[in-house]
């Protein structure tokens, strides 16, 4: 598989070279190089970055965008980023968590190139880190699901039970329980971020057990949303708001990323020579947005979700004690809370979630 990727990377560099050279007479003011772990048409995570950067390249004059898709989280990533820099990129955006080491190495070699890494860690002068915080934003999604479910069973498919996924599930259940005390969220783990056939089987298993609203934390929500739609169930999307096209009947709403304002700001800073690496984490209303509602969602549900999203945007933190975990223990004592920086180490399910962490 590496051969293929290397071939793709070479082809990309060649194409990029061909694309940039003829216009050398009129140098672009900024070349942005983006590295994606998947395809930009995934109705999910990668598409959210592609859409945002395309918009930046369109809105700002003389900004060019170079994109490398399907780049694995290995040493290949380093050579692809190096290639982007050779093609003149002055702002490189490694969009996958696993590019961390490769990105830092390339950034050390090219201090004149700005990096914005979608992940965590310490920022450096030419290396910024950023991410959208989805966990609290899942609370209003739960409100929507809790109001619309008839069976009081919500299904949630997750790839791998990392802290961020558990946070999404927990906020979802808490939001649902805030409007519907009888509601449960049933979790099914598939064991990978992109095993499509298993995602379909997982969604089917949840629907077999009477869940009538399905949400997910996997790379691309497409398969799960399609499966729910086919069986007449409702769905709440994740990663990209465009996924609503897959479920004309059952789409309720969903969370997506909106990186465009952040990237526009960053690109302007790089052009002006004012870039400094920072750690920037933004939640609902900034990097994270609520998708449009499906046509069948009634007005009172829309109002409740909008109100709840507004609360989160103003700083409401659902991860505030006292909170019980789903084994009857006290997960969070009164007064304690989980901040966005601790979300990655969450290791419990809140009361009302049906599932086991490990």
């Amino acid at each position: 598989m590496k051969e293929r990727v290397r071939f793709a990377a070479c082809a990309l560099m060649l194409l990029a070279g061909l694309a940039v050279r003829p216009s050398a007479a009129q140098e672009p003011r900024l070349v942005i190089g983006a590295v994606y772990v998947g395809s930009v048409n995934d109705y999910g995570y990668n598409r959210s970055f592609h859409d945002a950067l395309t918009q930046v390249a369109r809105d700002l004059p003389d900004v060019k965008l170079l994109e490398a898709e399907n780049v694995p989280e290995s040493a290949e990533a380093e050579s692809v980023m190096e290639g982007l820099v050779q093609q003149g990129a002055k702002l490189v955006i490694p969009t996958s968590f696993g590019y961390k080491d490769a990105a830092r190495k390339v950034a050390k070699r090219h201090r004149d190139v700005a990096f914005e890494f979608a992940g965590d860690g310490e920022p450096e002068s030419n290396f910024g880190v950023f991410f959208g915080q989805t966990q609290r934003a899942m609370y209003p999604m739960g409100v929507a699901a809790g109001k619309l479910t008839k069976t009081n069973k919500l299904g949630f498919v997750i790839g791998i039970p990392i802290g961020y996924s558990l946070g999404n599930v927990n906020a979802f259940q808490m939001g649902a329980a805030s409007v519907n005390p009888k509601v449960q969220t049933i979790v099914v783990v598939t064991g990978g971020w992109a095993d499509k056939a298993k995602e379909a089987a997982a969604a089917n298993a949840l629907l077999d057990q009477g869940c009538d609203v399905i949400s997910m934390h996997v790379d691309s929500p497409a398969t799960i949303i399609r499966t729910a739609e086919e069986r007449g169930a409702m769905s709440i999307g994740f990663q990209s708001i465009e996924a609503r096209a897959l479920a004309p009947k059952g789409w309720i709403t969903g969370l997506g990323f909106n990186w465009a304002p952040f990237f526009t700001e960053t690109a302007k800073k790089v052009i002006a020579g004012r870039f400094r690496g920072e750690a920037i984490y933004q939640g609902l209303g900034q990097m994270v947005v609520v998708a449009p509602f499906g046509d069948s969602v009634p007005a009172d549900v829309r109002a409740a979700v909008t109100k709840s999203a507004e609360d989160v945007r103003k700083g409401f933190n659902p991860f505030t004690g006292p909170l019980k975990d789903n084994r009857g223990g006290l997960a969070l004592p009164p007064g304690a809370s989980v901040g966005v920086d601790q979300m990655g180490s969450m290791n419990w399910y809140v009361e009302g979630v049906v599932g086991k962490v490990r």
Binding site: E3, I186, A194, A197, N204, T227
Partner: protein, 306 residues
């Protein structure tokens, strides 16, 4: 409105088992002719991507299905040229074809990632549609590939064990020299077997992309080609046992997900291992004469009778 565990298992087993069944039947025919095709994973991927691409371009899932079958046959004919005509090593050739399949399917599928296709239509007989325990599951609401899966397996068995052509094919797999001496050209039989196996493998891959998920993603087979190769051994190269084998493996995957959906308090990590633990357990329990069941010349190159 919850589904009893057994029904859920059966429904899940049939859904995940369908593509496995076609892939395993295809490999069974090929191995009966004395050829091991380790490239099955790549073959499935080519079937899945070609089927999806053609369905996305033409808007017609049936065309996708036909194209997937043709592409599968083509891939296996290339493999045949390598190992039958050029007489190269089957294991190395198979692995090469697997990597070829990874690359080719990624290339073919890339422009269509995220395309919204009309999947294969599914039917449920009217008299079953009103049964309450059927309604809560996917049972009996299948596309054509699932409906004809068992008949196809029986047909393959009949062709292999009840026709002259099948006899010739098995003779080639057991002893190509004897088959050659009796006037049968092993190469012809092996090409025919590869062609049939390619059609079945292509259909198996297409079932994943055109019906089960309705999406294409790189490496979406996630190891199912290798499971199918194991299932051939598990089923002792017998198409009728292949039905049982795919249901057992599909059922094990279904069990993992159904147990979670029912709120079982088993560790999800333990459940994930379950299909593979079960495969090992059944292989042990059903052990014994597997070496005798294998075609005697499996994996050996026929250099001509001299």
């Amino acid at each position: 409105m919850t589904t009893p565990l057994l029904l859920g298992l059966l429904a899940g087993a049939i859904l995940s088992g369908t593509s496995l069944l076609y892939a395993t039947l295809g490999e069974t025919i090929v191995e009966r002719s004395g050829i091991v095709n380790l490239g099955l994973e790549g073959l499935l991927l080519v079937g899945a991507s070609v089927g999806f691409a053609v369905a996305a371009i033409s808007g017609n899932p049936w065309l996708g299905l036909v194209a997937a079958a043709a592409a599968g046959a083509l891939v296996n004919l290339v493999f045949g040229w390598l190992v039958v005509t050029r007489k190269s090593n089957q294991l190395a050739g198979g692995l090469a074809m697997m990597f070829f399949g990874f690359g080719a399917s990624a290339l073919i599928g890339a422009p269509h990632v995220g395309a919204v296709i009309r999947g294969l239509p599914k039917w449920r007989p009217a008299w079953l549609a009103d049964v309450s325990w059927v309604q809560t599951t996917t049972l009996f609401k299948y596309d054509v590939l699932t409906w004809i899966a068992v008949p196809v397996a029986v047909l393959v068995w009949w062709v292999l064990f009840r026709t002259r052509w099948g006899l010739g094919l098995r003779a080639v797999g057991e002893n190509p020299n004897a088959a050659f001496a009796s006037g049968r050209d092993p190469a012809v039989f092996q090409y025919q077997a590869l062609c049939l196996g390619g059609v079945l493998g292509g259909l198996g891959g297409a079932h994943l992309s055109l019906s089960l998920t309705g999406t294409w993603a790189e490496y979406m087979t996630a190891g199912r080609g290798f499971i199918a190769i194991a299932l051939v051994i598990f089923s002792k190269w017998d198409p009728l046992r292949v039905i049982v084998g795919t249901l057992v493996f599909g059922g094990a995957e279904a069990l993992e997900l159904q147990l979670q959906a029912r709120g079982s308090l088993m560790s999800p990590f333990l459940l994930e291992m379950f299909p593979y633990l079960l495969t090992i357990a059944v292989l042990l329990a059903w052990g014994g004469s597997r070496r005798l069941a294998a075609p005697a010349s499996l994996g050996r190159t026929f250099y001509g009778s001299s």
